[in-house]
Each structure stands twice: as C-alpha cells, then as structure tokens.
Amino acid sequence: MALLQEIKVPLLAVNDTSLTVVEIAFPGGHRVKTGDPVLVFETSKTTYDALAETDGYIQYLCETGKDYEVNYIAARIFSEPDEAGQTTVPGLLPIVEAGEPAARANRADWTGETLFSLEAGLLIDSSGIGRSIFKGKDFVTRRDVEMATGSYHPVPSRHTDSPRSAPTAPIRPARQASTLPDPAKTIVERLSRNKKKEIEYLGEVQSGGLTSTINVTVETEDIFVHINQSLKYLKDSLLPVILYETGRLLRKYRVLNSYFSGDAIAFYKEVNIGFAIDLEDKGLKVLKIAHTDSKTIAAIEEEILSLSNRYLDELLGIGDLSDISFTVTDLSSQGVSFFRPLVNTMNSAILGVSSIDEKLQRMILSLTFDHRVTEGKTVAAFLSDLKGRLESYRPDGTTVPVEDVSCFRCLKTLQEDLAGTGFVKCITPHGKDGYICQACLKGF
C-alpha cells in the first residue's frame, strides 16, 4: 500500500510554464511496468514521453487536450490496484484551460443566453467545435473561439497596454488575420504550445515593426590557425571567440545589452549572453553564459559544452535559460551564407553568425536590433569593433606565447591574444604596472 511515483508536468523550457497532455497511454488503474511511456506531453516541435519508473498501477489526474502548469501532478503510480481506482481526483482540476483564467472565471457566472459575434459563429462553424462549450459565457468573440481552438496568437496590442504607456509602438490590429485552412486541400496540424510561445516571444520585439538588421563581413583567412590553439573541443568554431569579444564589447555598448519596456529602456546590469541551440529535436532554446564579459575564452568554451550536454540530457535548470541580456545565434554549421535573426523578448539585439565562405575566406555577421532602443549608427560601430577584434585573431606572422602577461582590462592573456601585435605595457588606473591588449587599447 504505497504511492510509488508522482509524474509531474516537467519544466522543459523557461518559457513553457504549461504543457498540453496529448496522450494518455493506459486506462486509469491499469498496471504499468518500468519504462512504459504513460503520458505524452506536447512540447516545442515534438512530444515528451513521461515514463513509469516503477511497476505499479497508474492513476491519471489529467485529461488529453488540456494544458497543465509545470509541476502539476499529472499521474501517480501506486503499488495496489484499488489505490489507483479512480481516474480523477475531486478537487484537483486542471490549472489551465484553453482560454484565459479570467474568461474561465466568467463561465460560471452567466446563466443567460450566450451571444456569438458573426465572426465567432463563422469560425465555430468552420472549425467544427460545438457552441455548447461556451455555455456560461455572456459574449463569445472571435478571440474566444480562437482561444478554444488554440489558434489565437496574442500580438502586443494597444488594447492591452496600461492606460499610461507611451504611444511608441505603431497601432496594429488587435488580432492577426488568419486565413482558415481548407481541410480538403491541406493537412492541418495544430501548433504546439511551445511553438506558440516561440511566436509570442519573438513577436514581442518584432511586432513593434521597428527592427532593422546590419551586416558586416569578417575576413577569416587563417583565423583558426591561432584560435584553434586556445580551443580544446570546439575546433574550427568562432562561437567561443565571438561570445568572448561580444561580452566585452557589450560593456561599452550598454544599449545592446538592454530592452525596450514601454516608455523606458531597461539596461541589464550584467552581461549574460545566450546562444541559441536547436539539436536533435530538443527544441530551440537559448542557453545562458552568465557573466560572459568576465570569462576567458577557455571558460566560455567549457560552458558552451556543458550547457549543450545538459540541453541534450534535458537537465537544464531555470537559471540556464533566464536573464539573458543578449543573444547570439550561430548557424555557421548549417552552410548558410546570410540570414536575418529575430530579436528575443527582453533583448534589444541578436547577433547572427553565418557560415564561412571558404572560397572568399570571409563570413557575415548580422545584427538585428530594436530601433526603439538604439539605431544603425551605434550598431554599425559595434559591428565594426567586433569585426576588428575578430580579425585581430588572424596571424600576421610571429607569435610568441607568453605566460603571465594578461591585459589588465579584459584579463585576456598574451597567449590567448593571437593577433600577433602584442600587448602594450602600461600603468593601470590603480597606479600599477600592467599590460593592455590592442583591442582594449583601441576599443576603450
């Protein structure tokens, strides 16, 4: 007589505060064995199987098609069949319904006739859902139906703003015009909740309509000759160096390490660059390298690796995904020549890394930025600095790795600095002897 396992809704991404149950594998009270998939949750672009970790009898506390908050106990496995006898437990209702909590609260209140707008009626008829599901509501709008069918995509809208917010975003319609698919001609697959979240989070900055992208070309001839010497694992990858240099530059370009918040700009106090990753159907995620600006290239490389492993093993914590102040998306392994990245929510910019053109020995860096926060001139200066710093890694002849010499400013060691121009001996602001690298000397 024992409760052997509780199956909770897993946290798979910080953005996904609730998941949809798409499949219940057994009837309630059924016997399950270790390793049996007992529940299927819908995640970004794929599904997630919850497995039984013990033999026993399953009790489900959820229903298919409904959304549940992370950590909600969706199922339990008991040692005895009678313990798991019931499929639902009174008082334990799903936390999230398809619809806003406010709308849900309304349903219980209204006993009168439910009025449908013409648009709502048409949508109901074409989607085949029943009108009875709206019982308890006084008015059903198109949005209500879209919520119920899962086709609603909130767009940052003037109507949800607080009354005192500044009129910065251009006025847009309250809802997207969506063309209903013709079932005869198309196979309709519902967007996963995570995909919807992705749209929402990318939509937040982009829907302002005031983003722009600036590209620079970086000469890459022989660039890895030296870089690879300081990389242990990620040979022939510019990502660690780009993160490293960007981290330092963001101290200077604070505005790219910020975000637009209605009538203000919020500047992050820390530089926490995130890098986008999308591997093996685990979904698009942005992983955080905390305090990027104070880490060495080697430390950054290590962190990229360990984060990627946790990503693949689905062991990411919320700290790995949150408080990202700037994003780098590296598609260089995909053979792309050039692309326009989209700015994440609560960021003002994103740096896109394209593939190196082996023939021309160069690559393109693309920075999409939120024009409400900054402007082309600043971004061009940032990219020019970054380009200069990256190109400084290209050899110009001799290099003598020297231990113990490091730039007082960025802590880069002479060994790490493979540009070949050397450090400058200097007096630090604290009056001590020290060295400063060419990049810091020029850049700061």
């Binding site: 009168g112 006084d138 709008t141 703003d161 607080s162």
Partner: protein
C-alpha cells in the same frame, strides 16, 4: 423760455445725475474706467419723472443708457460710482459696470429690446402675486427696430400685464439719425396693439412729471400696459467720440436744456447745488478709488466634476415617456404655486404639438399660458418670471425654433446671476423637442444641441427612454439656475426601457442628472459607446447587433446632463477598452462627440481609437429614404463602428 414751477428737490436730483455722468466722462478721460459709458446728459428729467415716481415695490428694467434711471430709482450714487470704477463694493461688484446694474428691483442689460420681454415676465409675476406692483422698461427710439419689442407688446396687451414701456426718443440710434432708420409713427405702433399711449418731453419737466404720474397711475389701477413716448435730446455723444451730429443742432438743444436754463436764470442756486454735489462726488470717488476689486475666487472657481459610481438597476416603466412628463407637470402645477407652464398651442384639449401639456390648462388655468408664436418673448417672459420668484417651464414647440429664443438664453438667462454679482438667480426652464425621423424636413427635424451646450451657467439636459423622465425633471425642478431640457419627438411615444436587453445590465448612477450605463454582465467590454437623448434609444436597441457585427463587446454610457459630461467615467471605460465611439443625431463638427473625445484625451494618456458617428452636414430631407441616410441609424452605426474598429 419755459416757465417752470418744478421743485428744487427734483432739480437737485437732475443736477446730481448730470454731475455723476460728467464725473464718469472725466474719469474715463483719465483712464480710470474700464470699458465705456453711455451718458444721458440732457435726458435726466425722463429718469426722474418715471423712475423717481415709482413705489419701492415697483421695478425698473433699463438699457445701456441707465445711469439716470438707476440714480433716480435707487438714489445709490456710491454703488454706481464704485461699479463703474470696477470695485467690489459696486452695485454689481464691478462685473457689470455701466450697462449691467442690479439693485433691489432695478435691472439693466445692454441688449436692445431683449429686456422688454424680461420686464414683461417680471410684471406678470407681480400680477400673479397680486401685490399691486408695476414696472417700467426703458427703451430708446433705436430699440424700435427690435422684434422682441413687438412680440412683447402683443403679449402685455393681450394678457393685461401692468408694464409701462417708456421710449426715450432722442432722435438718434447711436449715430444714425432717426429719419434714416425709422418708418411710420412711433405711438401708432403701440396703439396697433391696443396699448394706451402717452407723450411728453424733457424740456418741460413739470408737465412730464405730471404726465408720467398719470401714466403710472393708469398702469397700476387698470392693470394694463402703456406706452410713453418721451421726446428728449442727448447733449453728449452716444458713448465717447462717436458724435457726428451738427454742432449747431446740438447747441440749439443745449439752449433748450432745462438745467442749462436753470444755471443761467438761477445761477446762485445752481452754483450751490453743483458745488455741494461735486464735493460729495469727489469725496466718494477718492474713497472708492482706494477700495479693492473683486477677487477671482469670489467670482468663479473651477469645480472638478466627479461622476457618481454607485449604480442602481434600471426598471422598465410601462408608460409612454410623454405621459410620464405630463404627469410630472400635473404634479408640480398642483403642488407648487410658483410653477408656471408656458408655450405655443398648449391649451387643452389640444395640449401642445406633442401633448406634453395635455389637460394642464384645465388643471391650473391661472398658471398655464398659451402664448402667441413669439419664441423670444416666451423665453424672455419666462426669464422675468424666474427673476421674480417663479419657476417657469417654457415650451418651444420645435427644437429648431430655439434659435429664435437664443438671445434670451445667451444674453439674459445665462448672464443675470453673474453679471449682477450673484444677487439674483434665474431658475428658468426651457423645454423643447429635438430630432428627426418624422419626415418634418429641414426646419423641424434638427438636433441643435451643440449650440445649446457650453452656455455659461446654463445646464442642458437630454431625456432618454431608458429611465423615467420624471426623475430627471425632479432635478431640473430643483435647479436654481437656467436649464434647457431637450426632449425627443420620437421618444415621446415610447415606453421606458421596453427594448429587450437581456444580454446587458442596465443601471444608473445616483447623480442628480443620472448617467446610465449599459454594460455586459460578465465579460469586460471592448468598445465604449456614448450616446444620449433620442440616439440612446436607438443605440441601446442595437447593442447586440453591434456585438454580432463588430465582434466587439460594447458598453454604452448615456449622460443626461450634456452640458457637463461624465468624462471621468467615459475616460475610464475607454482607457480599458481602447475604443471610444460617440453617436449623436446632430452633425459632428464641433459637436458633443468632439467635446467628449477631446475631454477624454485630456484626462488620460491611454491610446484610444475614437470615432464620431453623426448626421451628415446637410439640411435634413423630408423624403424618408434620404432622411434615413442623413441621420445615423442602425445600419450606418454598425457599419461605421466596423470600419473604425475592426
């Protein structure tokens, strides 16, 4: 030369008037008077003969040239001097100055002719009170061009109102000689209305005193009006520096002037009187010049209007709106002696064009007056009744005719309280039906509300079919200042809250002039609509259709006091919904919708999409198909909401 045995008290009085006015001209030259002065130098004995022979209970309405009348009637030299010097101790606190004086039963206003029906109303009030008081209204020969005079002569004669019209004929309308402007005979004008006429002149003060006394006695004993033509001559300019008269002509009249003759023939007396009066005036002026002017806070302070937020559910009333209005008037006419009901064609059994007055004249014949077709006089008489303690409700048969009453509303009712420094109130009520949809065409269908809001100190109230109109009328009845009530022709026949609105909650707040809110019971609204009057009935009836067609959940706000809109309430709703539409039956330009929208925008920083839905700016056609297009109706409202907000 005229031999005169007139007594010296009267001569001293005339010298005093002249010296006070000469002082005004002197002060004006010194830049100590703000504005202008119109002196009656040469006309003083007219003032003394009439104003000086009235009893204290009698009254005077005078015009722009009123100083002599004022001094002769009130003897208040100090109050007049202080008034023109702009001091707080002036008879009108310095607000009115030369043309706008008020002291006891003395009133003056600078609008030619407009004072005549007001005086008639004041005299009618005395007659209704039965107090034996009579009144005089002074006009000039220039006033003979004003229509309100003739409307009033008709009424005072027909109704036997004890009012004397004294026409001071000084042969000039400002600077224009009489022969340029005036046709026909002056006294014949009054005689044509069956009004007794008298004549006299100021060059023979003794005779004038006698004739004036006889005329006053006639009016008092006969309770009839009379018209007294006084020939006189103004020895100074109309006001200052606008005198193109032949100097020889003026000099000739100066020779005829009684005080001039007196100064020449009784130089000793004249000198004694003049010196004593001059000394008195100089001392008064020196004293008054040290006094303070009225501080702004005693004149006006902005009051922030806060709309009540306690809501009571509205109940249907199974009675037509017109019956409920009629019942209200039956009640107050029977319970309150001071209530007077006036209007055209209102006698029973007809009971008025829209039957609001049904049977009222049977119930209270002495308080219900069916008037000639004379909107200016109806309104002016009502103003006078209101000034003299009555609560008049005047009906203007069609809202379109409010234009004919406009002077009385804007220049009289609106002004009395403030320009007389709050010594009087004018609790007049003017009711009128507005609106189209009956095929009455361009001049009987308009909604002129926008011309009636924004008049100082005048409340404009619009009834609707969503609540019992008696509730609104109770507040109108209690008002101490002018109120215009806009009724709606098509609403009269409708019962209260009869349209099914099962999907909405209908409620009103507890303001004196309640605001009605029709809101979704559970959902948050996503569209704020403001409509009032006849439009409230239409919009409230199509709320469900608005929802169906626009996919927006509407909340309707219906103000009843449209001269002070519940902007705080509207702004709060619109800030929440982000959408604000105002539907009005009048045209949009500078209309109620424009006022709502701009006031809401001043109050909130919220981004709100706004829309005014209104009549097209053309005269309203009679032909039904076009009338239905010109006035905002169901289909157009829905269409425009859809276009604006979807």
């Amino acid at each position: 030369m005229i031999k005169s045995v007139i007594n010296h008290r009267i001569i001293k009085e005339a010298v005093r008037i002249r010296k006070v006015e000469e002082k005004f001209l002197e002060l004006f030259s010194q830049g100590k008077l703000n504005g202008t002065v119109h002196t009656c130098v040469g006309q003083e004995f007219s003032a003394i003969a009439f104003a000086g022979q009235l009893k204290k209970k009698d009254f005077i309405f005078s015009n722009h040239r009123c100083h002599g009348h004022y001094l002769a009637f009130t003897g208040d030299t100090r109050g007049l001097l202080a008034e023109l010097l702009g001091k707080a101790s002036g008879t009108s606190g310095g607000i009115g100055s030369s043309q706008h004086l008020c002291n006891g039963n003395f009133f003056s206003n600078g609008i030619q002719g407009g004072i005549v029906p007001v005086a008639a109303g004041y005299a009618l009030a005395n007659k209704l009170k039965g107090n034996g008081a009579i009144g005089i209204v002074f006009i000039g020969d220039g006033t003979l061009g004003e229509g309100a005079l003739y409307e009033t002569m008709n009424i005072i004669s027909k109704w036997g109102i004890p009012l004397m019209i004294v026409c001071e004929n000084n042969f000039y309308a400002q600077s224009t000689p009489q022969q340029v402007n005036l046709a026909g005979d002056i006294t014949a004008r009054a005689e044509a209305f069956g009004i007794e006429t008298f004549e006299g002149n100021t060059w023979d003060p003794e005779s004038l005193m006698k004739q004036a006394g006889e005329a006053i006695e006639y009016v008092r004993t006969e309770t009839r009006p009379c018209f007294f033509l006084v020939e006189t001559y103004r020895l100074n300019a109309h006001s200052k520096g606008d005198d193109d008269r032949d100097p020889a002509d003026v000099a000739r009249f100066r020779e005829k002037d009684f005080l001039h003759i007196f100064a020449r023939e009784s130089a000793d007396y004249h000198q004694i009187y003049e010196e004593a009066i001059n000394l008195e005036i100089d001392e008064l002026v020196a004293e008054i010049e040290k006094e303070a002017e009225l501080p702004m806070e005693k004149y006006f302070e902005t009051v922030q209007h806060v709309t009540g937020n306690d809501w009571t559910a509205l109940e249907p009333v199974n009675k037509r709106q017109v019956e409920l209005i009629n019942h209200f008037f039956r009640d107050i006419l029977q319970s309150d002696e001071q209530v007077v009901f006036l209007g055209e064609d209102i006698l029973s059994p007809y009971g008025g064009a829209f039957k609001v007055a049904k049977e009222l004249s049977f119930l209270r014949p002495g308080r219900v007056f069916s008037t000639p077709i004379s909107e200016a006089a109806i309104t002016g008489v009502s103003n006078g009744l209101a000034l003299n303690g009555f609560k008049p409700f005047a009906e203007i048969m069609f809202g379109d005719f409010m234009t004919l009453a406009f002077d009385q509303i804007v220049n009289h009712a609106s002004k009395f309280h403030h320009m007389f420094n709050k010594k009087v109130n004018c609790p007049v009520v003017i009711r009128t039906p507005m609106g189209g949809r009956r095929g009455y065409g361009p001049t009987h269908s308009q909604t002129l509300d926008k011309f009636l809001v924004g008049i100082d100190n005048v409340k404009t109230v619009a009834l609707n079919t969503l609540m019992d109109p008696a509730l609104i009328y109770r507040s109108v009845y209690a008002e101490r200042h002018p109120v215009l009530v806009i009724e709606n022709k098509t609403d009269y026949g409708k019962k209260i809250l009869q349209q099914p609105m099962n999907s909405f909650v209908c409620e009103r707040n507890d303001d004196a002039f309640p605001v009605i809110r029709i809101r979704p019971p559970v959902s948050e609204p996503t569209l704020t609509v403001v409509a009032y009057g006849g439009m409230a009935d239409i919009v409230s009836g199509i709320l469900e259709d608005i929802f169906r067609h626009t996919d927006l959940i509407p909340e309707l706000i219906v103000p009843s006091l449209i001269s002070c809109l519940p902007i705080d309430l509207i702004a709060a709703s619109a800030a929440k919904t982000g959408r604000l539409a105002v539907v009005e039956e009048g045209t949009a330009f500078s209309g109620i919708g424009s006022e709502v929208v701009s006031a809401v925008m001043e109050m909130t920083d919220a981004r709100i999409k706004v829309k005014r839905i209104s009549a097209y700016p053309v005269p309203i056609p009679s032909v039904r198909s076009l009338e239905n297009i010109v006035l905002p109706g169901r289909d157009r409202i829905i269409q425009e909401l859809k276009e604006s907000f979807s």
